[in-house]
Amino acid sequence: MTDIIIIGAGTAGLTAAIYGARAGLSVKVIEKAFYGGQIISTSSIENYPGMPGINGADFAIALYNQAKALGAQILYETINSVNLSSDTKAITTSKGVHEAKAVIIATGAKPRMLGVSGEEKWVGRGIAFCATCDAPLYKGKAVAVVGGGNVAIGDALLLSDLCRKVTIIHRSENFEAERMQLEQVRAKENVQFITNSNVKEIVGADKIEGLIIENKIDFQITEIPIDGLFIAIGFEPDNLLFAPEVNLDEKGYIIAGEDCKTNLPGVFVAGDTRTKAVRQIVTAANDGSISALAASEYINNSVKYKEVASC
């Protein structure tokens, strides 16, 4: 049996793996897609203490290599079901059952979709969530960015250097993005803003050809031709697998305080998927360390309890 199973190989999960392994515990990290989490879509991390400007992929690679070098096992498997209520936690994946004394859930969050009919079929074929990764594929083409926060405006800025035309579509006329970056985008000649509007439909047969957009105030419908669509309207948790054993809030985040303890003994939660006020790389790393040390303490106390009980 493994000491700690960590679900998710983003910043929180890999930090937990580093702390767990350094505490002398056996650690397995189960990841369904690829290591790194959301951070890999950031070209330049400007707010992680001590390493300003580090590339997101480089940051992820460093975390991965550090966790591996310390002996953490990283498995790429899809989880089908979990049993977290017993002393021995069981995680059933596409490849078998993994048992652990403690579990840390660090599933992060997935990009929020528009909610437009048929949009799933365009993901990776015209719909993208990572301008840093996919912008060069749209060199000289027309693209749209949906969203009004820092990610959307940052994406638009990056795309405007490569693409023929960038259209920013936002549901409001007020942008949450930082003012300096917004002004930089507004100064670009090839960027067009469509505000107070929502995407109603994605048009295309074999590839995306355009968007149908509805103005929220006068309900006027317009169609714009595009080759690619970047969606940057935030993230949402993906924790239904753990309910109802683990308590979730109304938005689907796992309920826990700064101690990262869930309602179940031996089950901890770290990173963006936890109920918290600030979701940043540094707070994900913070949760990773706290949850791993709490899991270590839980395991040690369980062993002591069993020794006393058997005397």
Partner: protein, 99 residues
């Protein structure tokens, strides 16, 4: 990892199994695949692992119809096989390509 260019490509893939990774230096997933490919290379000494910079070696990338990064292609005794995948991969999925 072996660097493949138009000059050495044919010679390097001539014998046995070669896993060729087409990527670019701006592609995050290409960078992230490197430690996994290194791990694969250590585990499978019989398979040569090389990378092609698809920006500077555009001819090679076009020849093998690379339109996404990273793209991984298995070559056997100098010939391209139908084992081709795009995107970030785990070590298990790389291993499945040579199974």
């Amino acid at each position: 990892m072996l660097k493949l260019t138009n000059r050495n490509f044919e010679k390097e893939i001539a014998d046995g199994l070669t896993m060729v990774i087409f990527g670019t230096n701006w592609c995050g997933f290409c960078k992230m695949l490197e430690p996994i490919a290194e791990e694969f290379s250590i585990k499978h000494e019989n398979v040569k692992v090389g990378k092609v910079d698809a920006d500077s070696e555009k001819e090679l990338a076009d020849l093998y119809k690379v339109d996404a990064y990273p793209t991984i292609i298995i070559f056997k005794d100098g010939r391209v096989t139908d084992k081709k995948m795009s995107g970030m991969q785990s070590i298990e999925s790389l291993e499945n390509m040579i199974a």
